[in-house]
Amino acid sequence: MTDSYLIARVLAGDAAAERSMYDAHVDRVWRLVYRIVGDADQAADCVQETFIRAFSRLSGFRGESTLGTWIGSIAISTALNAVRSLKRRGARVVSIDDAPEPGVDPQGGDPDLKQRLHAAIDALPKGYRTVFLMHDVEGYTHEEIGAALSIASGTSKAQLSRARARLRSALGAFAPES
């Protein structure tokens, strides 16, 4: 079933088509919002809101990107808003200053590369983190990221480079040679 046919059926009020659209995109939306919010309950809320907004705004979808990219842009906006709300409530605040110094293990034991990498990802600026997660972790292309975030694909590439550079810098001598 093509996107345009599916959209027409949904706009005509076909409940089965709504479910088909949900089934076609829910896995990708779930993976993306979960990567951003990092919590199952929050991710479920975001996915719910994403599809409610997508269904209610579907008549305004102009086909300038694929349906999946359009839904993805709603998902990202929803997830980033959720993270912002969490930060306002102080539930998930990670600053670059809170990340341990490169090469220093606060526990005095063996350094944990994974833990340090995840802390460094947490400490990335919002834009860098989103592009890094979408490209290097979820496999989106720069064109898809650009369309989803309303930025040029060149900006996406630049943000990814800076994100990687910051991660390397945060890990310091701890990172394996590439």
Binding site: Y22, V37, A40, L80, I121, D136, P176
Partner: protein, 211 residues
């Protein structure tokens, strides 16, 4: 520019960052279906009514005070504009009630527009467009009221209306170019400064025991 991909070990470890479990598809779908069964028109009406009805009540009070204060000098069939024309000290009370309603509305609109501008400058999500629609309802009530007299209030309300209409029509996910146009328009007419000047009364201009 550093375009080298991360080391394969780092890439593998990065994939474990917030690694998603399988999605609870059915549970989420049930919540979506339940939410879509809600009568959204009723919700929208209630939200609008929550703002519009108190404003309408204030305007009705302004009209009533205008009629009462005009007394025998104005026939009941005269237009509302005539009713709100200050005839004596009491007639001014109707205007003051209108001004109080307009000032309160402009304060709310100023806060909302400042939030919108700040969010746009920080490249963050805009405040809810629903609030813009609620403010638009109040704005139109005030603009269409025959009690409006002050040309500066009218100009402010007209400028606020233009911006609120644009914000209310923004897509939910936001479009940066549209948002920039709105903030440019906001700055071009120096709206926030004018609102602040209007809603901050000088000590001499404060009403003395009329309302």
């Amino acid at each position: 520019m550093d375009d080298k991909p991360l080391d394969s070990e780092l890439t593998r470890l990065a994939a474990e960052y917030h690694e998603p479990p399988p999605p609870p598809r059915e549970e989420i779908w049930e919540r979506i279906a339940a939410a879509r069964r809600q009568p959204s028109r009723t919700i929208e009406f209630r939200r609008i009514a929550r703002v519009a009805l108190p404003m309408a009540a204030v305007l009705a009070l302004a009209f009533a005070m205008g009629r009462w204060s005009a007394g025998e000098g104005i026939a009941p069939s005269d237009s509302a504009i005539a009713v709100m024309t200050p005839m004596n000290d009491s007639a001014g009370a109707g205007s003051l009630v209108y001004r109080a309603a307009a000032t309160r509305h402009l304060q709310n609109a100023g806060v909302y527009l400042a939030d919108f501008r700040n969010a746009a400058l920080r490249d963050e999500a805009s405040p809810a467009a629903g609030s813009a629609r609620e403010l638009l309802v109040s704005n139109r009530l005030l603009l269409s009221s025959p009690a409006i007299e002050d040309p500066e209030i009218r100009n402010l309300l007209e400028d606020v209306e233009l911006l609120l209409v644009q914000i209310a029509q923004l897509p939910a996910e936001g479009v940066r170019a549209d948002t920039s146009l709105i903030t440019d328009g906001l700055d071009a007419v120096d709206l926030l400064t004018r609102i602040r000047a209007e809603v901050t009364p000088s000590p001499a201009a404060r009403p003395q025991g009329v309302i």
